[in-house]
Assembly symmetry: C2
Homo-oligomer: 337 residues x 2
């Protein structure tokens, strides 16, 4: 059902029956190591390129979800996913391994919820009984492509963020045990004219605010409906800006309730500057840490708002601004099905 | 409704109420200039980069479809689209201009039908009343990124294809006048181990054959059901391989019925080697030339099978094979609605 202009309500409540989360060594030393199903202790994952290592992260996340759901690989009807590498090759190559029909997405760091929104829509309307969706990023692969090879040792300003080495995948079914996907709001592009690729959080904050406020209005709920509203990867800077905007708009979201995946993943003291980012950040934190809190009953209603900065190294060099987007998906404890 | 594992039947028959097709100078000199709504006579479209020119192609295609449908821009509930440039920036920037909520896709040259399949699913299940989907490519932007700047004058083998400078967009509504979208089959990745980026048609042909044969089986129709089965951009080489595979599998598709968008767009004598390609190729030919033939009653049932090669310059340099995919969407004359 369409509620408002860009919010879908999923009346049949697709179930997240299993997830898989995989991280790298830096994530293993972070704040939530126990929320990863699998942690690798080197950045190469026994591959000969960082892009192939990124591919393996996603393959492992999908394989883990399939195993936990106790299904066969060929029961997966579709895979919806993407990443930030040019032409999303790590995702396409991982999907080749998976063998499932493939809907390739590009939403930068918003890909996780773009995939969950579309996947839930497909399952809700019987376009699939069982599908996988996921996203992945790899610090070294992304640094090399968007900035400089890490070996150059180039310095970054404190507003910049740290791309996580992680993948998260969710297996959605029309029935089963697990939290359910109840609604989704698709983002529109918000571009406030910022051009600094070392301050993505600041650029993305207005897009997150636009999507959250639209979601609350179109779904017809107060912010207090959600125990946690978790943005993808605004980091410290972006989160502060978003909180300021909420205050200005009189949208009453509490600081406690308003969390950020990019701030949940690393410990104090890890040199991540303004926080974590990358397509795998919200995927791994939502499908690992946050769903684990739901399992424990500590969160009953969750809104994940994955944020994406839709720039490229070339658009930056051509002095374009940074168009940003955010997609929101609500996940709730569903009771009996 | 799900028919088989990866085919959707659209019982509410979403309508393509209008389309917009835009081309460059080389396309204006091609075989079907009258099937473009707008032709530009220079490659720059008054922009200062080829990427911005590509953005304008898509903006123009969307604007044309909106104008022909006689609706306002803000009635467009979603835009689904993508292109081949890194991080699909031309599409994201064009969507910023459009202002619609945005579902970014990556399917290389299969993007056009990936978007139409998902868009039709959304409209069919009341996830939208009105949405736009499209794809775009620009010869100079793509050559620069995937191969060499054209100024280098590097030579290509006869198996290689010519990236079209074109965009195509379709406006889908739940009701209205126009051909209707009746079903879609999502592709899976087929990779026969080919590694030559100058022979995309050969690499993609098995993916096209897999999707077409699956579509016919899952929809439960003979090849003769369709007046035309049009692949995205197999070119001469890929088309021959596909016809050979059909013969081998005893899938009886006639040579006359089996067309290719990459072969329809240019005249004999234009130096396009094995034929046209690019994300805009199937979008512009399907939404222009083929739908015009439907309007004239020369085609009543059309299957468009957009093919994509999911490689990147980096995956090629790293000696990876070329994973390929094809998505099929059927468009039919719908009668009264």
């Amino acid at each position: 059902m369409l509620a408002g202009h860009r919010t879908w309500i999923f009346d049949r409540k697709p179930v997240i029956v299993a997830t898989g989360t995989v991280g790298g060594p830096f994530e293993g030393n972070g704040k939530i190591p126990n929320d990863f199903d699998l942690l690798h202790n080197d950045m190469w994952l026994n591959q000969d390129s960082f892009e192939k290592a990124q591919q393996v992260l996603l393959e492992d996340a999908c394989q883990t979800a399939i195993k936990k759901a106790n299904i066969q690989k060929d029961q997966v009807q579709f895979f919806l996913g993407g990443d930030l590498i040019n032409q999303i090759t790590p995702t396409s190559f991982a999907t080749k391994t998976l063998g499932a029909p493939y809907i390739g997405l590009f939403g930068a760091c918003s890909t996780s919820m773009e995939g969950l929104a579309l996947g839930a829509f497909l399952v809700n309307h019987k376009g699939a009984n069982c599908l996988l969706t996921g996203a992945v990023s790899h610090n070294a692969a992304v640094e090399k492509q968007f900035r400089y090879p890490t070996e150059y040792g180039s310095q970054k300003p404190p507003t910049s963020q740290w791309t996580v080495t992680a993948a998260g995948a969710a297996l959605l079914k029309d029935k089963g045990d697990g939290p359910v996907v109840t609604s989704a709001t698709i983002g529109r592009i918000i571009d406030m004219g910022l051009t600094d690729p070392f301050n993505m959080g600041g650029a993305m904050a207005p897009a997150a605010v636009d999507t959250i406020e639209t979601h609350l209005k179109e779904r017809g709920v107060d912010p207090s409906y959600y125990d946690v509203i978790a943005t993808g990867d605004l980091g410290h800077i972006g989160r502060e800006i978003a909180l300021d905007l909420f205050k200005k708009h009189e949208t009453w979201i509490s600081e406690k309730q308003f969390q950020d995946c990019g701030l949940m993943i690393y410990r104090e003291g890890q040199p991540v500057l303004a926080g974590g980012s990358g397509a795998g950040c919200s995927a791994a934190v939502a499908y690992g840490h946050l769903l684990n809190l739901m399992k424990k009953g500590e969160i009953k209603r969750l809104l994940v708002v994955a944020t994406g900065a839709l720039l490229s190294p070339l658009s930056y060099q051509q002095k374009e601004t940074i168009p940003c987007i955010a997609h929101a998906v609500s996940i709730e404890l569903g009771g009996e099905k």
